[in-house]
């Protein structure tokens, strides 16, 4: 439940604010909170609504479409991605409103994929630089998980694991029967015990329809309230259409946006952070092309929009003689990362994870349509068996390829802005990985006791398309999210990830946002009046966490 009990500060449009954030989603929410707490004048402009969760959200599949970015995008390529509900949120909280909230960390190897395997790219930062922020965000959300998580950099969780539903039990049974390690009851950013007035999970299974309970973390409930209390402003239902750039100084000066009546406004700002996620961020940069940046803002490297990634998200469904009732309990509650790393015995680089998914009836029906060719009476029959099915998701790392990219389509949206065109193809390594992974998941499903197994090919999670890197010729932003081309323009969201591992990206996106915020705060006003780049790492500011973060939960082992 979300209620805002305090008046929100309002800046006038003529006032030059310090930071303007485009999109108050996973990353935007964290940035807003940190910068406001540090005393900056900060405004978030969000295309979607500011949710009143009790009134706006429903416990219903069809009724939740409003949570997703359902404006037009064109999708193509040999393996076109389905977008909309499958990828993007719209509204304060962004994707964290409808995510399943799986929150594994990336592995140390993810940060040096190129060095290790000669594919993909290296990150400009190492795991160890991000680690303190992982730890911080795991407390701020907080993340519930097992007392010991063995993969990547092994660690523990301060909030205890969740009980299992039917799907989780099948995954645990399948994995343990095969001797595959499995993490039970997390890591997932859902409260397993109440914290303050936030109640714990009630196991209703409607996580990706928005958590009315308030148990699942979204920046709407974890960071935005503190941001507003500290003087940040959010302008909701406002679509940023253009970022303005001053050719003389080579600095950005403000943005124009369209409110819900279609009226255009202009807001001046000393610095701008784009947090619109992997399709809207490059779209906005490309749509903001101007003199001196004819190919799109901050696109001298021609990488804006390129290296878009999605993870292979094949869903493997198994039928059991005993009922499972997979609609109970959060879809996200158990996973294995046993196959995460590159294995020289396989003929491809990198790896995958296996996770629980709990499709509700419509999602299940469409999966059956794809996986089993169901229609007519066959569909009705399979659906009558809904309660006997369990579903696992493959989460496989697809490498960053320059041809997988966001460009501008000729068509325009309701505001007259050119919409995004997304091209996506699979390459050899990706295909081999998916084949191998699919088979592994099927083995686990069989070991759990499934009598019939089918699978649907799909993709999950978008990242990339404005990647960070050390070399301005091959990346859009530096290790702190500052565009190489423009000193007061930042990108901070999923689009800056150079590679994606096979971990769900949300936690990493928020951890990167907290790190960028620490950097901006330690740089102070230098950001506003200097073009010099100081790349020293900022100190970790635990004191900027929202109130109530520290002091609850169990002491961590590590």
């Amino acid at each position: 439940m979300q209620t805002i009990e305090f008046p929100m500060r309002r800046y006038s449009e003529s006032e030059e604010i310090d930071y303007l954030i485009v999109g108050v989603g996973s990353a935007g929410g964290v940035l807003l909170q940190r910068l406001a707490r540090a005393g900056f004048k900060v405004v978030g402009i969000e295309a979607g609504p500011f949710w009143d969760t009790e009134r706006d959200w429903v416990s219903d599949e069809v009724g939740s479409h409003q949570l997703y970015w359902e404006d037009l995008r064109i999708t193509g390529g040999k393996n076109p991605l389905t977008l909309g509900a499958n990828n993007c949120g719209k509204g304060v909280g962004g994707g964290s409103v409808h995510w399943a909230a799986f929150t594994p960390r990336f592995h140390p190897s993810d940060f040096e994929v190129y060095t290790r395997d000669g594919v993909g790219a290296d990150w400009p930062i190492s795991y160890w630089e991000l680690k303190p922020y992982y730890e911080l965000l795991e407390l701020e959300m907080p993340v519930a998980g097992p007392p010991w998580y063995p993969w990547g950099d092994p660690h523990s969780y301060a909030f205890g694991p969740h009980p299992m539903g039917g799907v989780g039990n099948t995954l645990v049974r399948g994995c343990t029967n095969l001797g595959i390690g499995v993490s039970v009851g997390g890591p997932v950013a859902i409260l397993s015990g109440s914290r303050g007035k936030r109640p714990h999970c009630i196991y209703r299974g409607y996580c990706i329809q928005g958590c009315k309970v308030g148990a699942k973390a979204s920046t709407l409930i974890t960071h935005v309230p503190d941001a507003l209390a500290k003087g940040a402003e959010i302008r909701d239902r406002s679509m940023v259409s253009h970022i303005y750039h001053d050719r003389k100084t080579n600095r950005v000066t403000g943005v124009s946006y369209l409110d819900q009546d279609g009226t255009e406004h202009f807001q001046k700002a000393k610095a701008i952070i784009v947090s619109g996620y992997a399709i809207e961020t490059p779209r906005l940069l490309l749509n903001s092309a101007c003199d001196g940046h004819e190919n799109g803002l901050a696109n001298s490297s021609d990488t804006v929009g390129r290296y878009l990634m999605a993870q292979a998200g094949n869903v493997i469904l198994g039928r059991f003689d005993e009922p499972v009732r997979m609609y109970k309990a959060p879809p996200a509650h158990a996973l294995t990362e046993e196959f995460y790393e590159t294995d020289p015995n396989r003929d491809f680089a990198r790896g995958f994870a296996i996770q629980t998914v709990g499709p509700l009836p419509i999602a299940f029906a469409t999966q059956m349509m794809a996986a089993r060719g169901c229609w007519g009476w066959g569909l009705r029959r399979i659906m009558m068996d809904y309660n006997h099915w369990s579903a696992f998701g493959l989460l496989g790392e697809i490498l960053p390829w320059p041809g997988n990219r966001v460009t501008l389509a000729e068509e325009t949206d309701q505001f007259g802005l050119r919409v995004a065109h997304v091209n996506f193809d699979l390459y050899d390594n990706d295909k081999k990985l998916i084949e191998f992974g699919k088979e592994k998941v099927e083995q686990v499903m069989r070991a759990a006791g499934a009598t019939e197994i089918v699978q649907e090919a799909r993709y999950a999670h978008l990242v990339g398309a404005a990647r960070m890197g050390k070399d301005p010729a091959t990346s859009v932003v530096d290790g702190f999210g500052r565009t190489h081309d423009i000193a007061n323009l930042f990108v901070c969201d999923g689009s800056i990830l150079p590679t994606q591992g096979s971990a769900n990206p949300g936690l990493t996106i928020q951890a990167l946002a907290a790190r960028t915020a620490d950097y901006l705060i330690s740089q102070g006003t230098k950001i506003f009046n200097s073009d010099k780049r100081d790349m020293t790492s900022p100190p970790v500011r635990r004191e900027l966490s929202p109130p109530g973060t520290h002091g609850t939960g169990v002491p961590r082992l590590r």
């Binding site: 416990s59 219903d60 599949e61 069809v62 009724g63 479409h65 997703y68 970015w69 359902e70 037009l72 995008r73 064109i74 999708t75 076109p80 977008l83 909309g84 509900a85 499958n86 990828n87 409808h98 539903g165 039917g166 039990n169 009630i202 196991y203 209703r204 990706i208 009315k212 309970v213 998200g313 009922p323 499972v324 109970k328 879809p331 998914v357 709990g358 499709p359 509700l360 009836p361 999602a363 469409t366 999966q367 349509m369 794809a370 996986a371 089993r372 060719g373 229609w375 007519g376 009476w377 066959g378 569909l379 009705r380 029959r381 659906m383 309660n387 998701g393 089918v454 649907e456 999950a460």
Partner: protein, 263 residues
């Protein structure tokens, strides 16, 4: 009974599922499925107000047809009756499908994307109607509506298999047949399984807030849910949509506009 949301007003015997032992048609039921007596709507006092309002509106208010013209609506109704047949349901307990699709197209709601190879959804529907009529003419010499139930089913199965019967090659060049089929099935499925009567049929618990679940494991029913009581049934003899094993479509990589319960 509004004829528009009665997918098969004549409800012939042979179109109903049969008992495999006797071969006799099963009588139409108020609620088919293995959970007799289970009613999600009976639990509505345990739902939150916003959800209750939304679901009840779905049950009580059937939107008028605004996008399709009467002829298109009639054809669409027949397609829906094949894609999600409801002849086992009593006429008063059939779930309106076409009005939902019409409403979406009328409002111009899209799932957030369009395949670069596909025309906009409304055009896709119209092209599809045209293609189906052309195929019917070419292969059977009659309009789709006049074909036997079985012939209609077979024609649709050829689209499902992505090996469409002859007659509409030009159209399939503008619109990949498997994408068209997915669009059609997806929309029908989303209309049917969004309805509480369909939840009752499949034993799904329905909305779950503020009251959720207490029995998470072993597929145990909640105190207010019912245990499964299976019965055998076979699809009507003149339908081809219920093969014995999985019948994987040509493209297992389908567009799905639900979020797929994914991670």
């Amino acid at each position: 009974m509004d004829t528009l949301h009665d997918p098969s007003s004549d409800g012939r015997e042979t179109r109903r599922p049969a008992d495999p032992k006797t071969g006799k048609s099963l009588p139409p039921l108020g609620q088919p499925g293995y959970y007799p007596g289970f009613s999600t709507l009976n639990q509505q006092k345990f739902w939150d107000a916003a959800t209750r309002e939304r679901v009840l509106r779905r049950v009580n208010d059937v939107p008028p047809i605004r996008f399709f013209n009467p002829e298109e609506a009639r054809l669409m109704k027949m397609l829906a009756a094949h894609i999600v047949p409801q002849d086992d349901r009593q006429p008063s307990r059939r779930i309106p499908i076409v009005p939902r699709i019409d409403e979406r197209l009328h409002q111009g709601r899209i799932p957030g994307y369009r395949f670069s190879t596909m025309p906009p959804d409304g055009n896709a529907y119209r092209l599809g109607f045209e293609a189906i009529e052309k195929m019917a003419k070419q292969s059977y010499g009659r309009p789709f509506q006049e074909l036997s139930w079985r012939a209609q089913d077979e024609l649709l199965k050829s689209i499902h298999d992505a090996e469409p019967k002859e007659g509409a090659e030009e159209i399939w060049k503008q619109m990949p047949v498997h994408r068209y089929w997915a669009l059609l099935v997806q929309d029908c499925v989303e209309a049917y399984y969004a309805h509480p009567w369909a939840w009752d049929e499949i034993g799904f618990g329905g909305p779950a807030y503020p009251r959720a679940y207490i029995r998470l494991e072993h597929g145990e029913p909640e105190p207010w849910e019912v245990k499964e009581r299976r019965y055998e049934w076979m699809a009507p003899a003149d339908s081809v949509s219920d093969p014995k094993g999985p019948d994987v479509a040509a493209h297992s990589e389908h567009p799905a506009h639900g979020q797929g319960g994914t991670h």
